[in-house]
Amino acid sequence: MNSVITKRIGLLLLAGTLSACATGPDGGSIYVPVGGQESQAPEPPRVDVEPDEPRVERKSEQPDVEPRTPSYQNEGDALSPAAQSLIGEGERLLADGNPQGAISQLERAQRIAPRSAKVYFALAEAYMDLGQLGTAEQFSLKGLSLAGTNVSAQRSGWLLLAEIRQARGNVAGADQARERAARL
């Protein structure tokens, strides 16, 4: 009995930590399993509220769960080894002159690491190789939207964008991107 209680308290604490992390800016995305064993611990009783009433939270019933606030993070997620290996494979194919093969591997990487800037930069490079500069530019912008405060990701993104814009004949845009990289 005692061990069950300890386990439950442990789980509640875990849940508390998780929800606290979820609001923090630096932890990367929070993975939330459906439950499996965790879901067998009884859920804290919930107060049934009408949609238009303010939500009542009884402190005693939800001891460790802070009221949520909207979540954000300062930079994109780190790459898993699996995603890294696919990007490596993509880069190898690109170097071998097979941009279409590279894109296949990079799209696999994108599906398992969709919140990492690097994967989009790699896609931008593959499309640049194919001469599809508009597509390449969009991927580098997407990558930049995930770079956040990561200076090295920002720098590679802006330099890549500068190169693509230069190739497209957008000299002013290229200069602007280069300047952004220099300012970092």
Binding site: A15, I30, P33, L86, Q138
Partner: protein, 786 residues
Amino acid sequence: MRCRIGGPFRYNPAMKKTASPKKTSRKPSGKAGRKPWFWRLFIRVSLIGIVLLAGWMVYLDAVVTARFEGRRFEVPSRVYARPLELYDGASVSAGALERELELAGYRSGGGSAAGRYRRSGGQFVINTRGFQFSDGEEPRRQLSLSIFGDRVEQFRVLSGPQSPIVRLEPAQIGGIYPAHKEDRVLVQLDEVPVLFRNTLMAVEDRQFYDHFGIAPLSIARAMLANIRAGEVVQGGSTLTQQLVKNFFLTRDQTLLRKGNEALMSVLLELHYDKDDILETYINEVYVGQAGTRAIHGFGLASQFYFGESIADLKAHQIATLVGLVKGPSYYNPRRHPDRTRARRNLVLGIMAESGLITEQEASRAQGQPLGVTSQASYSENRYPAYIDLVRRHLARDYRQEDLQSEGLRIFTTLNPAVQYAAEFAVSDTLKSIDDRSEGKLESAMVVTSRDSGEVLALVGGRDPQFAGFNRAVDARRPIGSLVKPFIYLTALQNPDKYTLVTPVEDKEFSLVFDDGRRWEPKNYDGEERGEVPLHQALSKSYNLPAVRVGLDVGVEAVKETLRDFGVSGGISEYPSMLLGSVSMTPVTVAQIYQGLATSGFNTPLRTIRQVTDARGEALSRYNLKVDQVADSASVHLIQYAMQEVMQEGTGRSVYRTVPKALALAGKTGTTDDGRDSWFAGFSGDLLAVSWVGQDDNGPTSLTGATGALPVWSRFMSRVPQHGFSPVVPEGVDYHWVDSERGALTREGCEGARYMPFVVGSEPDTEVSCDGSFGRRLRGWFEGMFE
């Protein structure tokens, strides 16, 4: 009308021509004894007969060769789910992995044969079959992994080439069949094990490589046996004759038919070599039925009955399949296992007799269970709504005839686990809210991958197995408040004028049109609240501020935003569009919310990754594309307010079902009298749109929060995933503010919120915890809504 075409008026050249010599033969019948007359007549009749026979042969030859050439290539296209990627950290529950394996035709149990897996608790050992993807081969491997907290851990390749990430073979989820509904998997003769070929010949046609299409001796032997038994116990048909018979799909046993078959068999042998005929036979033979789908050929038969490739069959499985030829329904191994076992063991006996296997091997094989899979590895109508959308996408680039006959492989983006959760959420939730409407409630759901736009699941109605009206694709309904994020996004794109804390007026007003009509929008609850900060106006879905802001930025500008995000149809010019009197299908809503879910990047929805030919060569690719349609900063602000919807706004009941740790963002939508209940929202991984309403547009007592949101929540609670946590874009800073008063404040003060602002647009006044202002209000704050 009918008798003019059929019956006595039909022209039949064969009848006419054979009748005419009879007429002439009547004259001489009276004059007996004139031999030269008789002989001349006989020769003439014979000549005519030979000419007719030759003509008939030419005709049969044309028929049989056309059939032989044509038939060999008519293969349905196969539609596959996305392959499951396994690696350390992969998001999958143990239950979902097991379902996925079963869907792909894997069988539980020991052994290290390809296509087998072992599970104990969260521990899996999987023997993959390997698969030829167009971007490279995924070879056979033995994998070991464990699943903890819905994630793959300790992923290892036990045998086969090492790799940190491995794709399972994709499960087949459907096919695009020719009109005659024949299904087959083409195999080449060299892929068929020698034992298989020899067994087939030993049982069906011992002299196959020696005869010329027919084997008169065998026929005589069979006739004798039949006469002795008093019934048909033995067929003397060669494989060639059986093939010809199969071509014409007729079971009548008339003498004329038999003669034709024999002639055609001889003709076939003249044109093609034995191997060609044997290969065609192996691909053509009818071996079973799955609903309306006819199972042809041993290539498909080995998958259909054993879930294995023909190259991997063991002696007892070969004997079962060869035994089936005699009567696929009489010896149906799933329905009549005893008959099948007897027949199989007979075949095994013949195999031993012919020296193909030893006596010991035969008796060992005879002791084996049949080992057929409990059901066909997939049912063709499992995902009717999804396949429907796939077919529409295919129709843009492919002709129906090619899809039905060229054996194409279509690799879709369907995620079976997500589809399963979506189907469950729809059908289960609808049962519990049925009493909220007088008519029959219906529903639809679309789930996409947030950053790639891949459609992972699609539900077209409350009965997901029903292949009828596909509401996800075809039901165009007013979207109600789902339009509001686009109004506020349009406003927030001008940070000098609008921020999340800009006070907006929640006060009634009326608009008078040029033609004298009046429009007086109301809040859902009929209340007015005076001034509310913009973020709250969105999270609580107040109507009056939305219309006021919409009119301020202009209906045209809001339309422009909607178009940028992917609405292609017409959008109403009337201000009532600001309250969502613009109709869209659930799929279109998913498309426009994609841009809100990412940082303003429109990502075209896709159901197909790739189409390849039968050999796996890519014919078309549908690659990921992104297109930035809004600046990331203003989208980030909207994402803040859409998260607030889930925490304090109209969507907050979501956390009765979903774990609090899962950060979500979304928006409810309701139209007049609850005719449409919508919810659209997203997590870190998924974007989902749900709709509930009646097909006849009847009223319900539902709102977005009580109809569509419960469906959405139940779905989200059943899929392991990452929470929503957007990266702060460049040019956005977070500040502690008192949003009611539109001023900066300090952390810990009552009502303090940490909110994002486009740099420079944050309030320039500060209010302390006790409520006193530090500086005068900014000019725009007072002057904006006079």
